[in-house]
Symmetry: C2
Subunit: 276 residues, 2 copies
């Protein structure tokens, strides 16, 4: 059995090599190149357009931190919107809240969902929950047209190349704001401030044009490009830095805790500088 | 002018590629292979035995966080011991404190110091300070034999292969403890909990055998292997999680702040688990 190396190119001068035991599956969907590879160190991984999106071993870090910071901030999240997130990891985390009664999940590429159900059943575990409603649609169109109102929105997009470009635009944030309740809030993954500083800054600028309260927090995800990863919150009412009384205790989390939540907002001065 | 790729191998299944503009200098010292390379994205970098140690662009993160957490914790650090740290970055940070009257720096390989003075003058800026005393010696021997007592010790070692192996041993921590004052404390870089979990755990175990108070904190350094990097503190009196009144304000820091200091101790449950 051979070993292969998968090369992930990040910028002109930096890339990462992952040793692969096996290419489990490959296809070209309507939207992107999709591969499932079995890595030597991180278990199986979902790769879209040549970039690692999700690995079995460290997916919990990204999925917990993008989901629970906003879900814990809202005192009673009942209706939740997920844009992207086709692997199902965010959905799985959202469904851990008893308060949640309805989730709309909008993923443009149903092949991501279908492959995740087959190859990552522990991640894609929430699609059959009676509260889950999967829409195979363009997230931008969905938020422009929906009449629903949500307490929490989570934008779990891939990088802003390919199908996800529009999910980083001011127009999209405006439409998201329109479909949030008056005390609603949205979180978006806003890339690496180190390797993709321009995108990080532009998300902050675009969010700040729509939301009067914008917050940035960080987490470190080993299988994403080195250095901290950023998340940006637009909020109509609640300050995510002030945790409310924790009525919604979720047991068994491996990355998220209340102290990790609070600590995530402590930006080093050089990152703070980028957005001030 | 060509571009070359430098390949840094971390584990069996993971490695990083850096694009190099130029190999500025190479030599084999008595202890290790040493190279200075000019990278496309990180400025000049010091490479020892094939591993990036220091880059011009992000050295401030590592040097600030390893130095200021212990220096700020001690209310009046006057005598400081640095083991390793031949590039001079920790020394530069320590000398920012007016309280400091004497620094012993023990670096086994004087070629690291000499090359850093030539190629990284902004980092190796403290060797001529009247408070600095450089000893070209084995750190293990130094702490076994010295009669000096220190308020703060900082162990800025390379990875535990080659000359630095002994700097991760219980015996060494015992000798460090013996040369600390009754309210002294020591910090060591304790590797990546993700990629080098065994070393991370073993440092914690060895430190806990010597110090009754052991604390772990994290920082993310983009040019070190992906994911968080760990630092372990052994303390005789002060709890670094409780910052004292800040008598020693240091201006111009780019990574360290009081909120970053406090946040660094918020370990995610899966990392906490490794050492409980």
């Amino acid at each position: 059995m051979g070993n292969y190396w998968f090369y992930e190119n990040h910028t002109d001068g930096y890339g990462v090599n992952w040793k692969i035991k096996k290419i489990v599956h490959e296809e070209t969907t309507k939207f992107q190149d999709l591969a499932i590879v079995d890595t030597v160190e991180w278990g199986k991984a979902l790769v879209l357009d040549g970039m690692f999106q999700t690995t079995e071993k460290d997916e919990f870090i990204y999925h917990e931190i993008i989901t629970h910071v906003v879900m814990k901030t809202h005192p009673n999240p009942q209706k939740v919107l997920i844009i992207g997130g086709g692997d199902g990891g965010v959905l799985r985390e959202v469904l851990k809240y008893d308060s949640v009664i309805h989730v709309d999940m909008v993923e443009i590429d149903d092949r991501v969902v279908e492959n995740s159900k087959v190859f990552f059943p522990q991640i894609a575990s929430g699609f059959d929950d009676f509260r889950s409603n999967l829409h195979t649609k363009d997230g931008m169109q969905f938020v422009k047209n929906t009449l629903n109102k949500y307490d929490v929105a989570i934008v779990d997009s891939s990088d802003p190349i390919g199908p996800a470009v529009g999910l980083f635009s001011k127009e999209f944030y405006k439409d998201i704001s329109n479909c949030l309740n008056d005390d609603g809030l949205v979180v978006v993954q806003s890339e690496s401030p180190i390797f993709y500083e321009d995108i990080f800054k532009s998300v902050h600028k675009n969010m700040s044009a729509i939301f009067s309260n914008v917050y940035v927090y960080l987490a470190t995800i080993p299988t994403y490009v080195s250095g901290p990863w950023s998340f940006t919150i637009g909020s109509k009412k609640y300050n995510p830095e002030n945790l409310p009384n924790d009525k919604n205790y979720i047991s068994g989390l491996k990355y998220y805790s209340e102290s990790v939540h609070k600590a995530a907002f402590a930006l080093p001065p050089f990152i703070n500088q980028m957005i001030r």
